[in-house]
């Protein structure tokens, strides 16, 4: 074998070896999580604890509080304190203050005037923003909520086995949203998939967490925005996209595209438009700003984003499943 060929072969061996090591580390993490040695909840709490120290999170305080601080600091007092622990110190300080006061007073008066003008401008800005927010709130389109028809979700739903199958080869973590109490995450984990769930609805995650599942009470879009680029091997969306506006859906898919690893799989479960408008639809359907797409629209929507999508209609045509594999660079943004 030539030197070049030997070198190439050695490089390939090294790569294969490291890939194997990384897979074993993945398995170790999965095992540790499942055993409860380091519950995923604790890892999340670490993130939250650091955010409490971070100015980026913008937690606590607000414009009101900042303005109060500006107001408090806007006046600069030229009359400096003269108390002293040393004998005669106060008299000397008072003398110095008297000598300098005409000069310091002149300077601080101008600085205080400037600070007061800035403070006044900020208050005006605050008033304008408050007014604008009221106007915007009146016209605001509420964000889509999770819309789940009880007959369409759950461990025995027709589309679950196909979803588990599609995610069984995912390289990297798989997220399900809206995960509810983790009914699908549990099935994925049982099949050896490194899965976790996200659901914005209050209290649903608690029960699943007691069972050792990694479930998070977060808004799906906010959660995906916080995930690193190309970090997810698979994403399952159920009950999430149905009631979205076109704008919300486009934002979600853009983030999905970015957070998905190459060859990652996206699974979307949605009610059909006819089921959406039927009497069997849940009340949240009426309160949603948008409505579900027709099944055939999804390949049209996902194709330009680099996905190869297939659609499977449910047995009673009341819902459908879209399975899409990220296979190329998006042609449209």
């Amino acid at each position: 074998m030539s030197e070049a060929a030997e070198s190439a072969s050695s490089l390939a061996d090294d790569r294969a070896y490291l890939t194997q090591v990384m897979a074993e580390i993945d398995e170790e993490v999965r095992r540790r999580r499942a055993s409860g040695d380091l519950p995923p909840r604790l890892e999340r709490e670490l993130d939250e604890l650091f955010l409490e120290h971070s100015p980026v999170a913008g937690r606590g305080g607000g414009l009101d509080q900042s303005l109060r601080m500006v107001d408090a600091a806007a006046f600069i007092d030229p009359v400096v304190p003269i108390s002293s622990n040393k004998s005669g110190g106060a008299v000397i300080k008072k003398g110095l203050r008297s000598l300098n006061l005409w000069y310091m007073g002149y300077v601080t008066h101008q600085v205080s005037q400037f600070a007061a003008a800035v403070s006044r401008s900020l208050h005006l800005l605050d008033d304008r923003l408050t007014e604008l927010r009221r106007e915007v709130d009146a016209q605001r389109v509420p964000p889509a909520v999770v819309v789940e028809a009880p007959w369409a979700v759950g461990p025995d739903a027709w589309w679950v086995s196909a979803t588990v199958e599609a995610m069984s080869t995912a390289r990297g973590r798989v997220v399900h949203t809206a995960a509810g109490d983790g009914w699908l995450v549990r099935q994925l984990v049982d099949k050896g998939v490194d899965a976790y769930g996200v659901d914005p609805r209050s209290g649903l995650a608690d029960k699943g967490e007691l069972d050792g599942l990694d479930l998070r009470e977060e808004e799906p879009l906010e959660h995906l925005r916080a995930v690193e680029s190309a970090a997810l091997g698979g994403i399952v969306l159920s009950g999430v996209v149905d009631g979205m506006t076109h704008g919300e859906r486009a934002q979600l898919l853009e983030v999905v595209c970015d957070r998905m690893a190459p060859d990652g799989t996206l699974v979307v479960h949605s009610l059909s438009p006819s089921a959406w408008w039927s009497e069997t639809a849940p009340p949240e359907a009426d309160l949603s700003p948008g409505h579900p797409l027709r099944a055939a629209t999804w390949p049209h929507l996902l194709g330009p984003l680099g996905f190869e999508a297939t659609v499977t209609e449910g047995p009673s045509s009341t819902d459908y499943l879209v399975t899409a594999v990220l296979s190329g660079a998006p042609t449209v943004r």
Partner: protein, 386 residues
Amino acid sequence: MSASPEAAAGRPPGGAVHQFVPALIARDATGSHTLLLRQALREAGWRSEIFAEATHDELLGETLPVDAYPELSAPGDVLVYQFSTSSAVSEFLAGRPEPLVLDYHNVTRPHLYGGWDAVSATRSAAALEELARLAPRAVLGLADSAYNETDLLEAGCPRTAVVPVLVDLDRLVSAPDPRVAARLAAGGAGGGVDWLFVGRLVPSKAQHDLVKALWAYRRLYDPDARLHLAGPTPSGKYLASLRGFVADLGLSESVRIWGEVTDAALAALFAAADVYVSLSIHEGFGVPLLESMRASVPVVARAAGAVEATLGGAGLLLERAEPSYVAAAVHRVLHDEVLHQRLVRAGHGQVAAHSLAAAGGRAVEAIASVAGPPPGRPVRAARTGE
């Protein structure tokens, strides 16, 4: 080595390759690169000076003021700008007629400072604007890595080459500071492994993620493990947040923030380290990765920016940085003898590929392609470091 007698005498050197840098700083990757490049250029036969706006106390005498250059300029000069931050040097060079080589060391993106350091974010945005102005006028762009080369191309640099940072890796394996070594030995007397990370204490280096990972590692594998963070601390806000976070986790005794350290202290830290862990989210090259490989310390690093290329397969590359995942990777490296040895051996190979002689030779060759051979002799590889 310092400013040449010709320059000191105020005589125009002629046919020279001069470098410009906003500030020549000791123990800084760009500062060290600038000094070593000057040595390589001089050894190759060019006259070469460093012109700086500011110079670190330890390096006084190594530079000339930027505004002294017009007096010393001569036909045939080529100017090399060590670019990594915003500075008035950009404007000065934009107005000069000499051919310009842009030696680009990356600019941390403004959003990576977001909320933490408004001044640095503003400066970073200004630096990117300066890059966009200078790049199209440069005759050559030199980048530390293919990752950085992309920035040059996007900024409109007409011609580019990848030349690694010139770094004297041998300085870290000789004469460790005995006081630091003693302190590290005392700290480790009770057992536990030592993690090390070297880099500026800024949000983009993600030292907070290292703290999270250490916390997980101590819980899962080694309750006595320690983390050493070395590097300057330009962001007071981030430093305070990190200290508060460390205290909240009860890790004040286990996470040591050393600040900026001397080469001897750094040598002691590398000598004591069991593993080098980097979870940085932005790296234009990553000199400490090479230093770690030179010191035979295995590397576990998040795949960000140029990290993968700098490691060249000689480190465990992580696609994500969840604490349990990082902890498991470090544990594996420290307890799998075969993996440990392979990483260290591959690291030595990578260090050889980035030797000072090799990098200096590549830099000289690239610069000769625009400056022509040095006066009176053909271009040859620099002897630096041999």
